[in-house]
Every structure is written in structure tokens, then in C-alpha cells.
């Protein structure tokens, strides 16, 4: 069975300021696949996810990123999101003064508009958010509060998962989705993530620890060190890393 590539990253090099962080990164993710990228702190994992999303401040010096066959690097941040890329952020941003519902409604309708779906009216929207929120342990009170303001680490990650659930992206990047989560929250978030796995949607799970991969089981695992993938394998590679650590992959300096 031939697979349809969704995300194709070829020989990517990227800089932050004068510092080259991504140094020849190659990865192809096909439709329906879940890939895990594991690496030590400072390896450039967040940088990779930010570059895929088009965050300003990063310069691609060579290589290419294609999404559904299109050159991703030519698209604005919002175009990428509307095309179906979602970044579950390691450090979600607080937006004082903007109620979470308002923010969610703008996002959902922007994406729906792009997909030629009618905008949801307030009733439909509230109903959907309530139902999906409930599954993630998010109550009505929480989504009335300003976006991420005063949220605990766990609440922030739940809200990220809620956003992913209602935006229904075809490609999600989870950047350290498990950081700051206790075991119960981890289960809730993982269930939310797994609910989106339908054999069509793809994911890139970025993590330092193997723990999350017990719940979101990847099809492929890659070791990322010094700006490139140094080893690939199946889910057992994650267990191996957990045991041995990253030492053998990190260059002696």
C-alpha cells in the first residue's frame, strides 16, 4: 500500500540569530502516522516545531518543508494553521483580557471559513466547547477566564488539547505535552490526543522523556541531537533511550 506523504522535511538548516540550531534535518511523515522525536534539552526540538509553524525569528538557511505537497515556508502562520497544522505548545501564552471562549470562537471560525464550512453560531459553538471540554475536565468557568491567565501547568495543557480537539487539525505537533502534568492529567490529555488518531491524522510527538509514549504510542521514534536525526526506529527505541540516556548520541564537546 503506497502512503501519501503529509509533511516532508528535507535537509533543513535553520538559525536563531547567528546560531545555527537545525543542521540538516530530514523527516517524512505520511498520513495517519505518529512520529516521536526525542532528544536532550537544548537539542532544538522546540525550534523545529516553531519553524514548522512559521514563528517569526527563525531563519531557514537551506532545505525545504513541504506540507500536502505545498511549500510551507511561503505560508503565513495563520495559513499553516488553517491548512491543518497545530502546535500544542510547550509554553502556552497568556492573553490577559481575552476570554478563552472568545479566543476559541475566533480560531474555530477562522479555520471553518478556510474549509468552506459555515461559521458556528454562538449556541452551536458553546455546545461543542462544553462537550469537548467536559471530556478533558475543563469546566465552563475555566473557559470564561482569560486565555491561560492564572492557569496551572496542567490546565494550560488541557486547554491546548481542547484547542486541538475543536480545531481538528490533520497534523499536530505536541511539544513536551507531558511536561508539568501529573499522572491523571497525563491520562486525560493522552485520551484527548488519541481520540484524534483516526488513521488519517498525523502527529509529531516531541518529548524529552519516554513517559508520554506509553499513552500516545508512536509508529516511529527518532533520536534528535545536535540539530539532526541521529537514529530512527520503532517504539522500542524509546524504551532503549529511557534506559541508556542520550549520552551516546550527544557529541563530546
Amino acid at each position: 500500500m503506497s502512503k501519501t506523504p503529509l509533511l516532508e522535511i528535507e535537509n533543513l538548516h535553520a538559525k536563531v540569530g547567528d546560531k545555527e540550531i537545525i543542521k540538516g534535518f530530514n523527516l517524512t511523515i505520511n498520513e495517519g502516522e505518529v512520529h516521536a522525536v526525542m532528544g536532550p534539552n537544548g537539542a532544538g526540538k522546540s525550534t523545529l516545531s516553531n519553524v514548522i509553524c512559521g514563528k517569526p525569528g527563525y531563519e531557514i538557511t537551506s532545505g525545504s518543508i513541504r506540507f500536502k505537497g505545498k511549500d510551507l515556508t511561503k505560508m503565513s502562520v495563520e495559513e499553516r494553521a488553517r491548512e491543518g497544522i497545530f502546535l500544542c505548545m510547550q509554553y502556552p501564552v497568556e492573553i490577559p483580557g481575552v476570554p478563552t471562549t472568545t479566543f476559541l470562537k475566533h480560531a474555530v471560525n477562522a479555520v471553518r471559513k478556510h474549509r468552506n464550512q459555515p461559521e458556528l453560531d454562538t449556541m452551536e459553538f458553546v455546545k461543542m466547547v462544553r462537550e469537548e471540554g467536559k471530556k478533558l475536565g475543563i469546566d465552563a468557568d475555566m473557559i470564561k477566564r482569560p486565555v491561560n491567565v492564572g492557569f496551572s501547568g496542567g490546565e494550560k495543557k488541557r486547554l491546548e488539547t481542547l484547542q486541538m480537539t475543536v480545531l481538528k487539525p490533520c497534523f499536530s505537533i505536541l511539544d513536551e505535552a507531558d511536561s508539568g502534568l501529573d499522572i491523571d492529567a497525563l491520562k486525560v490529555v493522552s485520551e484527548g490526543v488519541n481520540a484524534l488518531r483516526d488513521g488519517q491524522r498525523s502527529m509529531l510527538v516531541i518529548t524529552h522523556y519516554q513517559r508520554l509514549l506509553n499513552y500516545v504510542v508512536p509508529d516511529f521514534v527518532h533520536v534528535y541531537a545536535d540539530g539532526r536525526i541521529v537514529k530512527s526506529g520503532d517504539k522500542n527505541l524509546a524504551l532503549e533511550l529511557e534506559e541508556k540516556g542520550y549520552a551516546e548520541f550527544v557529541k563530546e564537546k
Binding site: 495563520e78 497545530f86 481575552v98 482569560p146
Partner: protein
């Protein structure tokens, strides 16, 4: 003489006290002139356009009728001139233009009686409506409840109602445009709310400008009197339609007298055409325990200045003066306040927030004066601005003059930019960058707009703040 001072026949020139007042205004404006860069109170806001010599002052239509009733020599019915009924009133000196020949120089836009008026501007909430078009009163009066009077200022002059306060609340020295306004005092309304009467819905004063290509000079003078224990709300709405290129000038003075224990909510939306000049001065005098609350959103005009001077003359009077401004292009929008605490236990609170884009300039000058006797008073003031471009500018001049002990006073100012991380976060969820900016701007203005007590007015101002001014 400048282009703003012209020889124009005004209503009631034969009324000595009125004419004396006008003459005083005229002398004072001649002495002060249009402010220059050297005028301290106008050092940030430079009304250069007002030195132009092509201002057109439209004669009042409605006041002709009053004039006809009160001036014996009027030839309105062609009795006194030998025209046999077909004169166009140019020669007889009655000042009438009752035909539709538009010889008043309006170029067809003067709204003579013969022209049908469309006053349906989509008034967003139930209100007692008072309409002006190009600064001229449209004689349609709302049905009012008992104990409330709204008449034209000149009618109020005729029946001696206005005499007690007119010109006594406004100051001329240091206020050149109040002086100019006084010299031309004619159009405007008089509002009186009787003792203990609580008005059930806001009064809305709309001045709708259709200047065409003319640089109209509109001069409005309103006198508002709340007797002891009265409560009322006034909404002023300055808007325009049609060609927007005119540098028309709207000059407003409100004199507001608040009796003991009265409450007055004063709201305003300044949405003039982008080349217009809008100068507004409200002089407020408050008796004991009177409460004055104002909110003004400025989003139009090239030069827009909303100035409020409050005198808290008796104990426990309080004033809340809030404002917001949203601007781009080359505009200068100015909020100037002066709160005088003249008695013990008086309170004032001010929050002014602005959003400045393009090459625009926001100005806030806020003065709090606390007189020697005014002990146990509190006066607080805060100005904040959001700068959306590198060339946007704000000038802030807070002034505290404190001559009493045992007072609580503060002022503060802050300016910032939109947070790129917040914009990225929203964009990464599919929200367009411009939409994301608007969400942040709305959030920025939320706290100041939420100070508007009347919910309908608040929602109206909120949606006005969300709509980009037309270029």
C-alpha cells in the same frame, strides 16, 4: 481678524445681556487668537487648519422662525419690502432663505425646509433624540416626561431661563475656543431636569455633518441644568456622511450645572470625517454630593480635542472622567482634563486609554487641582496607550496642584506595544494577524469601556471602537 471671525447676523442681537456676552467672547478670541505652538495648553495639539480663511458659517434655518415671531421689522411676509412677494430676501435684510435657491452659499446642502431630511441614522438604542445637521438644529422635539425641558438655547434665552447660568460656567481666559464659541452663541440646546426627576432613558444629541466641499464652521453651545436630586444621561454623537475631504470645524461648548445630590452621565462618540477639526469643551460645576460621570470615545477628525473642566465646589461631589481614543493616519486626538477639588471630601477618578497607529499622535493633559480647604479628598488619574507603529506618538502631561494636606492623589502613565508572542499564539490557531490585533485592542480597551454604566451605550461604544475609522 481671522477667518473664524466673520460678520454674521445672529439671533437675538437686540437682547442686551446676550449681546454683551457675545461681545465679550469676541474680544477675548480676538485677543487670544487661534492657539499656536507657544500656547502652553495647546503645545501638543496644533490646530493650524483653523487659520484658514475659507470657513463657511451657515445661517440658521430654525432660528428664522423664532426671529419672525420676535422681530417686528421682519419682512418674512414681504410686508416691509416692495418686492410684491417674489424677493429672495437678500436685500431686505431679514436673513431668510426660505426658498430652495440655496443662496445662503451652501451649495445645495443646507437642508432648507423644502428638502426632505433623513434622520434615520440607525440610532442604536432608545433615546430622546435631538438632531443637528451641519450644526443647525432640526426642529423636531422628542416627547418628554414631566419635569424635563429640552428647548433650543435661543428659546431658553427668550424666556429668560438661560440667563442665570449661560456664560457663567464657561471660562474665556485661557480657552480661546470657548471665547469663539461665545462670540457665535446661537445654536445649541438647553436641557433642564427638575428637582428629583430621574430621566428614564438617555437624551441623544446628534450632529450630522454633510459638509460637501465646504469648510463649514459649526458652533454649538449647550446648557444643561440638573436641579437638586435630578438624574439624567446625555449622549453626544458627532458623525458625518458624504464627501470626507472637508476641513470642517465643529466647536462645542457645554455648560453643565449639577445641583446637590444630582447624577449626570455624559457620553460621547466623536466620529468626525478624517480631515475635520473637532474642539469640544465641557465646563461642569457640581454642588454637594453631585456625581458626574463621563466617557468619550474619539476616533475621527484630524484634530480632535475633548476637554473637560470640572469644578467640585461643594462637599462630597465626585467626578469620573474616562476616555478612549483610536487613531491612525496623521490625526492628533487630544484629551484634556482639569478637575478642581474646591471642597472637602470631593473625589475624582480618571482613566484614559488610547490606541495609536500610523503617524498619529495621542495627547493627554490631565490636571488635578486641590484647593487649600479641600481636605480628605482623593484624585486619581491614569493614562495608558498602545502604540501600533514606530511612528505613532503620545504626549502626556499630568499636573498635580495640591494645596491641602490629608489628600490622596495619584497619576500614572504607561505605554506599550502589542505582544508578538500573543499574536503568534493566536495566528498559530488560524486567526488572521489583523483579526488577532483587533482582539488584543478590544481587550486593551475593555476595562475603560466597561466603566460606561449604561449597558446599551456601552455596547454601542464598544462596537464603535471595533470599527476601523473610514479613510
Amino acid at each position: 481678524m481671522t477667518g473664524l471671525l466673520q460678520d454674521i447676523k445672529l439671533f437675538g442681537e437686540y437682547i442686551p445681556w446676550l449681546q454683551a456676552l457675545r461681545n465679550k467672547g469676541r474680544d477675548s478670541f480676538e485677543e487670544q487668537g487661534v492657539p499656536t505652538a507657544k500656547t502652553e495648553a495647546w503645545k501638543y495639539t496644533k490646530p493650524r487648519d483653523l487659520n484658514a480663511d475659507d470657513f463657511v458659517f451657515l445661517p440658521s434655518n430654525f432660528l428664522d422662525e423664532l426671529r419672525a415671531e420676535t422681530t417686528e421689522a421682519c419682512c418674512c411676509h414681504h410686508e416691509n419690502c416692495d418686492c410684491s412677494g417674489d424677493c429672495r430676501h437678500e436685500d431686505c435684510g431679514c436673513g431668510h432663505h426660505h426658498d430652495d435657491s440655496h443662496e445662503c452659499g451652501c451649495g445645495g446642502e443646507c437642508h432648507c425646509h423644502n428638502h426632505e431630511l433623513n434622520l434615520n441614522y440607525g440610532i442604536p438604542f432608545d433615546a430622546y433624540q435631538i438632531h443637528f445637521v451641519n450644526g443647525k438644529f432640526i426642529p423636531i422635539f422628542p416627547a418628554l416626561p414631566r419635569g424635563v425641558e429640552i428647548i433650543t438655547l435661543m428659546e431658553a434665552v427668550l424666556i429668560d431661563e438661560a440667563k442665570e447660568h449661560l456664560g457663567k460656567i464657561a471660562e474665556l481666559d485661557g480657552y480661546p475656543f470657548a471665547a469663539l464659541n461665545t462670540a457665535y452663541m446661537e445654536e445649541g440646546i438647553y436641557i433642564r431636569i427638575n428637582k428629583d426627576v430621574k430621566l428614564d432613558k438617555p437624551i441623544m444629541l446628534i450632529n450630522h455633518t454633510e459638509a460637501g466641499s465646504k469648510n463649514l464652521f459649526c458652533n454649538l453651545r449647550n446648557l444643561i441644568v440638573l436641579e437638586n436630586g435630578a438624574e439624567a444621561e446625555l449622549v453626544e454623537w458627532y458623525k458625518y456622511a458624504g464627501a470626507q475631504k472637508s476641513r470642517y470645524f465643529t466647536n462645542i461648548v457645554n455648560e453643565i450645572v449639577l445641583g446637590k445630590n444630582s447624577r449626570f452621565n455624559h457620553y460621547k462618540l466623536q466620529d468626525e470625517a478624517y480631515k475635520a477639526n473637532h474642539v469640544s469643551l465641557s465646563f461642569v460645576k457640581q454642588k454637594a454630593e453631585a456625581e458626574y460621570r463621563s466617557f468619550c470615545l474619539q476616533k475621527g477628525a484630524n484634530i480632535g480635542r475633548n476637554e473637560i473642566k470640572v469644578r467640585l465646589t461643594d462637599e462630597k461631589a465626585s467626578a469620573e472622567v474616562n476616555a478612549a481614543y483610536i487613531m491612525s493616519g496623521w490625526a492628533t486626538l487630544d484629551t484634556t482634563t482639569n478637575i478642581e477639588h474646591l471642597a472637602p471630601q470631593t473625589f475624582s477618578e480618571q482613566l484614559v486609554k488610547g490606541v495609536v497607529n500610523g503617524d498619529a499622535r495621542g495627547v493627554f493633559q490631565g490636571k488635578i487641582h486641590i484647593a487649600p480647604d479641600a481636605v480628605q479628598t482623593a484624585g486619581h488619574q491614569l493614562h495608558k496607550a498602545l502604540l501600533l507603529s514606530d511612528t505613532a506618538e503620545i504626549d502626556v502631561k499630568p499636573e498635580l496642584e495640591i494645596f491641602a494636606d490629608d489628600v490622596k492623589c495619584s497619576h500614572g502613565a504607561a505605554s506599550g506595544e502589542l505582544d508578538e508572542r500573543q499574536l503568534f499564539y493566536m495566528q498559530s490557531r488560524g486567526i488572521g494577524r489583523e483579526e488577532a490585533k483587533q482582539i488584543l485592542i478590544d481587550a486593551y480597551l475593555e476595562d475603560v469601556i466597561s466603566k460606561i454604566q449604561n449597558e446599551a451605550v456601552r455596547n454601542w461604544i464598544k462596537s464603535a471602537a471595533q470599527t476601523e475609522p473610514v479613510k
